[in-house]
């Protein structure tokens, strides 16, 4: 049975003319981990806040555990939320923060104590119970915020960029901890993040937002390998997919005045097309240094070194494209190079604004 269902949900803020989000359709299975990604201002937080009951739903229906929840107050939704800011109560100790929700719900002290110990054990907060939030590190605060949410035994856990202000190392650790927690407790989680790696590693499914709408929902593999449009293809993946605008004509792809004969790795879409955008990810382009059919001709601009991988930056028909090369590769700039796409990893998109995927 679906645990959380959004049907045609939309939100227009009272002081605004346009909808911040519209026509959101999502179904989460019990225990699923769904991540919302998208550019800033696309409506991820708004969606989360509507599910939490912090924002009124302007149109559409929300169901939690089979019950229509549009008009339920936040406390009756059986949810917990961890804010990006953590929102710890600064005047209370760690222990008081964690059990605050239980106290409000009238859970007896002995039970509260038991839950507190459970949470401190789980989240490695032992010995910090009597500190105040100001005396904690960022990672510890984050875990207190998580603990406060988890002791409520919520059915649905909402997380709005909870790791965004941590340093890279702590972030990686918390990511692993989150994953383990999710497995261990079987929670239904809706997670908002700007971090691609978090989205790819944590999620069962990813919902990609663009400008107040969901453009694709799918497993990390689906959104990565099978994007529905140019936006998703460009948004998911880092460094981003290379795009070449042009058109198909007489067995060739013409981009920026360069004619690339089709064939080998460069297979055209089956559906007929004129103006198109060609998309290939950097890891699917192999540089060779002699003329090759089905390869994009260019000149080496420079090499971007990221440590584990290097990216060869090549000027192709006036735009800069990236191709992944083994670390330590040396090439002098200005050298002619041909980029060979990997067969089956070439994406075509309609050349219009919408950029629909052509198959």
């Amino acid at each position: 049975m679906s645990h959380v269902v959004l049907r045609g949900v939309g939100k227009r803020y009272p002081n605004s003319q346009r909808f911040a989000v519209r026509n959101i359709n999502l179904e989460l299975a019990r225990g699923e981990f769904l991540t919302l990604v998208g550019p800033s201002g696309c409506g991820k937080s708004t969606t989360l806040r509507m599910i939490a009951g912090l924002e009124e739903i302007t149109e559409g229906d929300l169901y939690i555990a089979g019950r229509r929840a549009n008009d339920l107050p936040p406390k009756d939704r059986n949810i917990a939320m961890v804010f990006q800011s953590y929102a710890l109560f600064p005047h209370m100790t760690v222990a008081a923060n964690i059990v605050f929700g239980l106290k409000v719900k009238g859970v007896p002290p002995a039970e509260r104590q038991r839950k507190l110990e459970w949470a401190c054990e789980l989240l490695d907060l032992k010995g910090l119970e009597h500190r105040r939030p100001a005396e904690l590190s960022g990672g510890q605060r984050q875990r207190v915020a998580l603990g406060r949410a988890l002791v409520l035994e919520p059915e649905v856990l909402l997380l709005d960029e909870p790791l965004s202000n941590l340093d890279a190392k702590l972030r990686l650790r918390m990511r692993t901890e989150l994953k383990n927690l999710h497995r261990k407790l079987g929670l239904t989680v809706i997670y908002v993040t700007h971090d691609q790696a978090e989205a790819m590693t944590l999620s069962d499914r990813i919902a990609v937002y663009d400008n107040g709408r969901i453009v694709q929902v799918g497993t990390p593999e689906e959104v990565y390998y099978d994007p529905v449009n140019r936006f998703v293809a460009g948004f998911i993946g880092a460094p981003p997919m290379n795009f070449f605008d042009g058109w198909l004509e007489g067995g060739a792809f013409v981009t920026g005045g360069v004619r690339v004969p089709l064939g080998h790795g460069l297979q055209p879409p089956r559906e007929p097309a004129g103006a198109v955008t060609l998309g290939v990810r950097p890891e699917d382009l192999t540089p060779v240094y002699e003329e090759t059919p089905g390869a994009l001709p260019g000149r080496v601009a420079f090499i971007e070194r990221l440590g584990s991988d290097d990216y060869l930056v090549v000027e192709v028909a006036g735009i800069l494209a990236q191709a992944r090369v083994p670390a330590g590769t040396r090439v002098e700039s200005g050298r002619p190079v041909w980029l060979v796409p990997r067969p089956g990893r070439v994406y075509w998109f309609a050349g219009d604004e919408e950029g629909r995927r052509l198959r």
Binding site: A87, L88, R141
Partner: protein
């Protein structure tokens, strides 16, 4: 570190002198013996009394009416603080969180009473207190209410900033955790705001403690409500010697310092530290 420029140093010295000199004079007189103030022009007044004495202080504390006025003053000031905060804090919270048509007008109206000199507003206000039902209240409460009228606009104004400084996330989190609005206000917002509200409390205490005009008119016919400033006027009416007045003035200042000190300890920095990243 840069050296302080000479001009600044001079300015600072002058300012310090202007603040400290009257205090010095006041204290000097309050412990002066008779010969040090009544010189009859035969020699200049000494910079420090010939025979410092706490005689005037002793005399003051031996007087029952002085103690009565002191206790009245403290009580009225505390009532005023309590009233101003109980009325002012929720009002400030509402004004901090909700925007509505006429917001600016409302704020201006709140402050408008204080745009007039007290000597002008005292007439309509006191007139109310002379009539039923307010005249049935104990006179201390009447004075405290009048003082609240004076302090409330500022308390609200100061507290709006305090509440605006508290992240909205805290309230939303509380709502998710199951708190009612009232519970959130009393258990989360007030404790978090307390250090900020303390400034308003000090201001109110000082205002009530110093206030003369309203207290004078309200206790005109009802001397048991007389506060220390009113008492000071009564003592002056007998044209006593300078040292008694000075001692009285010093004594009046002590509770102010004491109260500010107590409350200030509460005003530690970083009221929302750790709440949000």
């Amino acid at each position: 570190m840069k050296r302080i420029r000479l001009g600044w140093a001079l300015g600072l010295a002058v300012a310090l002198f202007m603040i400290l000199f009257p205090l010095y004079i006041l204290f000097k007189y309050s412990i002066a013996d008779r010969a040090s103030i009544v010189t009859g022009g035969r020699y200049p007044e000494p910079l420090w009394p010939f025979a410092p004495t706490f005689e005037m202080y002793r005399y003051l504390v031996s007087r029952g009416d002085f103690w009565a006025a002191g206790v009245t003053s403290v009580r009225i000031a505390l009532y005023t603080v309590a009233l101003s905060l109980t009325l002012g804090a929720p009002a400030a919270y509402a004004l901090a969180r909700y925007r509505f048509a006429g917001y600016g007008v409302l704020i201006f109206t709140l402050l408008s009473l204080r745009l007039f000199p007290d000597i002008a507003t005292v007439i309509p206000v006191v007139e109310r207190f002379y009539k039923p039902p307010l005249n049935a209240l104990p006179v201390e409460v009447q004075v405290a209410l009048a003082h609240t009228l004076l302090s409330l606009p500022y308390v609200i104004f100061m507290s709006i900033g305090v509440f605006q400084g508290i992240p909205k996330d805290l309230e939303e989190q509380a709502a998710i955790l199951g708190c009612s609005r009232l519970y959130t206000f009393t258990r989360i917002l007030l404790p978090v705001a307390a250090p900020g509200l303390a400034a308003g409390a000090i201001y109110t205490f000082l205002l009530s403690w110093n206030e003369f005009i309203f207290a004078y008119y309200l206790t005109f016919t009802n001397p048991e409500g007389a506060t220390l400033p009113v008492y000071l006027l009564r003592v002056m009416a007998w044209t006593p010697q300078k040292n008694l007045l000075a001692a009285l003035a010093v004594v009046i200042s002590v509770p102010v310092i004491l109260f500010s000190f107590l409350v200030q300890k509460y005003m530690q920095a970083g009221l929302t530290a750790g709440a949000v990243k």
